[in-house]
């Protein structure tokens, strides 16, 4: 049979081509191709460059070198699983797939394989409940805290109340885009605003009807949960209908440099963020010196300092801190994925730690615990300044409606636990 022959060839090449096992492996399930490549590439660059920096500058983490084998997923869940299976055997310490879809595939698998899954600002929000999701870490913020923070900001701008306002949610019609709906509905009940749901199907090039509807109904605020080309088209259409940009809020995946580029159209557009903006941090000097100038950058270097690059780097920094913590707890340099999980669970991100990493005040301070893998959910607000062509942080990292969100997390995670026969951990 031809197939067996092919399989043998495949097997042999796989055996031959297995990457050299480095000591600390942080696989990067990236996507530099496909409809969302423009978002995937800078993120993957940031993630890889930070580890390269650690290797070059500090000789790795605690003296052990790191490796970031990259695997292309194309934002496709099946390929994501293939990548996971291909890399997990090489001593992978943690995964960050940058895709809510792939995250859902990996949640049960990582739990079974005892590998922590890090999803910074995406994935399954209720994964914050560490009792049920022992291996999911979605600190420092999630979709729900983002939504809640945006509502809070709207309240702030309108003398403390969102009562009676009409707020429209324009969202990517997928798991990712649907995540905030529950929260926003609960918040609408509580705060007394009216919520209109406006879905946009993948990929989202054609949004004329949606924006005609918005133009007709003139919602007081728009919340945007988009990704890829959908963001650019949405912002363009918003500018076209002359929607007041400062009344429009994006989640952090709709607040990237790709999205707000064109002209003055998106001046004043705001987006939630869970980390700082720009490249005005000591770490960038190091990256320039040790990584880009040394010709070791993952990309061509043009992405350094962009929002998604920063986010990838921040994720890498959190992962590295987790690994360092694990080394500290277990007293072993060469940690396993299980130890890594313990390290992440004991993570205490302080300003001092951030400063030491060359990223002072880059992200909020937070502590991870056995029951809380989501952090405090502190979220800041950034605004696009088209004159300077850059994002500026305009609101501090503040806690969202934690009580309400925790309640929602509890309900959703317990439903998952019941469906999958998981006994919540006792902590």
């Amino acid at each position: 049979m031809k197939f067996t022959k092919l399989a043998t060839i495949a097997l042999t090449t796989m055996a031959v081509s297995a990457p050299v096992v480095a000591d600390l492996v942080f696989p990067s399930l990236s996507y530099r191709t496909g409809p969302y490549a423009s978002g995937g590439a800078p993120y993957a660059d940031g993630y890889a460059d930070y580890f390269t920096l650690l290797n070059e500058r500090d000789g790795g983490i605690g003296g052990v070198k790191t490796a970031v084998p990259e695997c292309e997923t194309g934002y496709n869940t099946a390929k994501g699983v293939e990548c996971y299976e291909a890399t997990k055997g090489d001593g992978a310490l943690t995964y960050q797939p940058l895709s809510t879809g792939i995250t859902y595939q990996l949640i049960p698998k990582t739990m079974a394989d005892d590998i922590p899954l890090m999803t910074q600002g995406y994935g399954r929000t209720s994964g914050a409940n560490g009792k049920v999701f022992s291996h999911v870490f979605n600190f420092p913020a999630n979709y729900w805290s983002g939504a809640s923070r945006i509502i809070n900001r709207i309240k702030e701008e309108n003398s403390g109340s969102a009562e009676g306002r009409n707020i429209a949610l324009v969202y990517h019609n997928s798991g990712y885009g649907k995540e905030p709906i529950t929260t926003l509905k609960a918040l609408a009940d509580k705060e007394g605003f009216n919520l209109t749901l406006i879905p946009v199907d993948h990929p989202g090039q054609e949004q004329k009807s949606q924006w005609l509807q918005i133009r007709r109904e003139r919602p007081d605020n728009i919340i945007l949960y988009g990704w890829g080309v959908m963001n650019q088209v949405a912002l363009k259409e918003a500018a076209n209908i002359r929607y007041p940009m400062d009344q429009m809020f994006g989640i952090w995946w709709s607040g990237t440099d790709n999205d707000a580029l064109e002209g003055m159209g998106s001046h004043g557009y705001k987006a939630a963020t869970f980390h700082n903006v720009g490249s005005d941090f000591p770490v960038y000097a190091d990256i320039q010196k040790f990584v880009v100038d040394a010709g070791l950058a993952a990309g061509d270097g043009s992405n350094v300092g962009t929002v998604l690059y920063n986010r990838g780097m921040y994720s890498a920094m959190l992962a590295a801190s987790g690994a360092a913590k694990a080394q500290e707890i277990h007293g072993v340099k060469d940690i396993t994925s299980g130890m890594m999980r313990d390290g992440l669970e004991a993570l205490d991100v302080t300003d001092a730690l951030m400063a030491a990493a060359g990223m002072p005040e880059f992200g909020p301070e937070f502590t991870v615990s056995c029951s809380n893998h989501g952090g405090p959910g502190d979220v800041g607000i950034q605004q696009w300044d088209a004159n300077d062509r850059q994002w500026k942080l305009i609101g501090g990292f503040e806690a969202p409606d934690t009580k309400l969100i925790n309640q929602l997390i509890k309900v959703d995670s317990e439903a998952y636990a019941a469906e999958n026969n998981i006994t919540p951990r006792d902590c």
Partner: protein
């Protein structure tokens, strides 16, 4: 020499109808079964099972199903992704609504539900033909995905619309859920793949199969012989969807373990399965398997060679993967438009005469 039918006389029509008329083929078939059921599980790594063998089997089932429709009945369909989604969501609903139901029943029932949906969307095939039908089946693809995405009941009102497969056992072995061993999943899929291939073979060699092929080759003559086009086409849609639904069910429950309809069952799935069918060979059961093997193995192989072996950046490798897969499709079509199965058949013809050239 050893590969021929002379001397192997068929004394009954029963013998004459068998699947592998040549003794050597029969032995080879037993050998493949032995390898698939016993040898492979012994050497199966997690990676081979989860990233290669299980998807191969699942796709092979889907390709079998589509081949019944496209290859045997001549009805071009691009709704495969949507039908797989129906199978997957039916499985999810059955698993969560009846936790006690065994997995075989769940999978078969999911197939049946998909068959009903498929037959429904097959109705326009009576009036619409060729590429128009292909485009019409895209209506099924987009509508089903939209529906499953839109109605929260289908995903038990979870926040993101994702569905995840709970853990289920059979004979004390865990088959689905995170703790399932890859070998169990592989064997579970293998049983279905072999069983369904057998069913497909039976259906296509009998009365129903002949009515399908008659509709494919000359629908007017078929009708005048007594084939009811409605019954033939709808049965083809139903049987095809049954297979595809089972593929979707296994795809979700055994292979991925979780799925989201817009992403996992998009239009690219429909195209991928059509690729398998055409590259493997239209109207060939064996072809469905090699087509699936090609489409599953090729990218994995390329990726491992380009990224793992040659150390290329992943994005370059991914782009080259597109170029190579596209190029290979073109080359195959130019060299042998009737698929890999036809290549194998030509080879066999040659072998049958070997060592005498004529």
């Amino acid at each position: 020499m050893f590969y021929r039918e002379s001397g192997d006389f068929k004394k009954t029509y029963q013998k004459d109808n068998q699947t592998f008329p040549i003794k050597f083929d029969r032995w080879r078939y037993y050998f493949v079964m032995l390898v698939a059921f016993i040898v492979v599980p012994m050497f199966l790594t997690d990676y081979m099972a989860n990233a290669v063998m299980t998807p191969f089997l699942v796709w092979a089932i889907a390709a079998l199903g589509l081949n019944i429709l496209v290859g045997y009945t001549g009805q071009l369909s691009l709704g495969t992704g949507g039908f797989m989604a129906v199978g997957a969501y039916a499985t999810y609903k059955l698993m969560t609504a009846f936790p006690g139901m065994d997995m075989v029943s769940v999978v078969l029932l999911s197939g049946l539900i998909t068959a009903v949906v498929g037959a429904l969307f097959g109705l326009p095939s009576l009036r619409i033909k060729g590429f128009y039908l292909a485009v019409a089946t895209l209506a099924a693809q987009f509508f089903l995905v939209w529906l499953l995405n839109k109605v929260p009941w289908f995903y038990n009102y979870s926040a993101s619309g994702q569905i995840s497969a709970p853990q289920r056992e059979m004979f004390g072995v865990i088959i689905t859920g995170p703790h399932a061993t890859p070998v169990a999943g592989y064997l579970f899929c293998l049983v279905f793949a072999v069983g369904l291939a057998w069913v497909a073979r039976n259906l296509t060699r009998g009365r129903l199969g002949r009515s399908w092929m008659a509709i494919r080759d000359m629908d007017i003559a078929a009708e005048i012989i007594g084939v009811n086009p409605l019954a033939a086409k709808l049965s083809a849609f139903a049987v095809s969807s049954f297979f595809v639904g089972i593929a979707g069910s296994l795809f979700f429950s055994v292979y991925l373990g979780a799925a989201e309809v817009t992403e996992a069952f998009g239009i690219s799935v429909s195209f991928a399965v059509l690729f398998m069918v055409i590259i493997g060979g239209l109207g060939s059961i064996f072809g469905s398997f090699i087509g699936a093997a090609f489409m599953v193995l090729m990218p994995v192989l390329l990726k491992n060679i380009l990224v793992g072996g040659m150390g290329w950046p992943t994005d370059l490798a991914a782009h080259f993967e597109f170029i190579i897969v596209g190029g290979l499709i073109l080359i195959f079509l130019i060299v042998e438009p009737h698929g890999l199965a036809q290549m194998a058949r030509v080879l066999k013809e040659k072998l049958r005469l070997w060592p005498f050239p004529h």
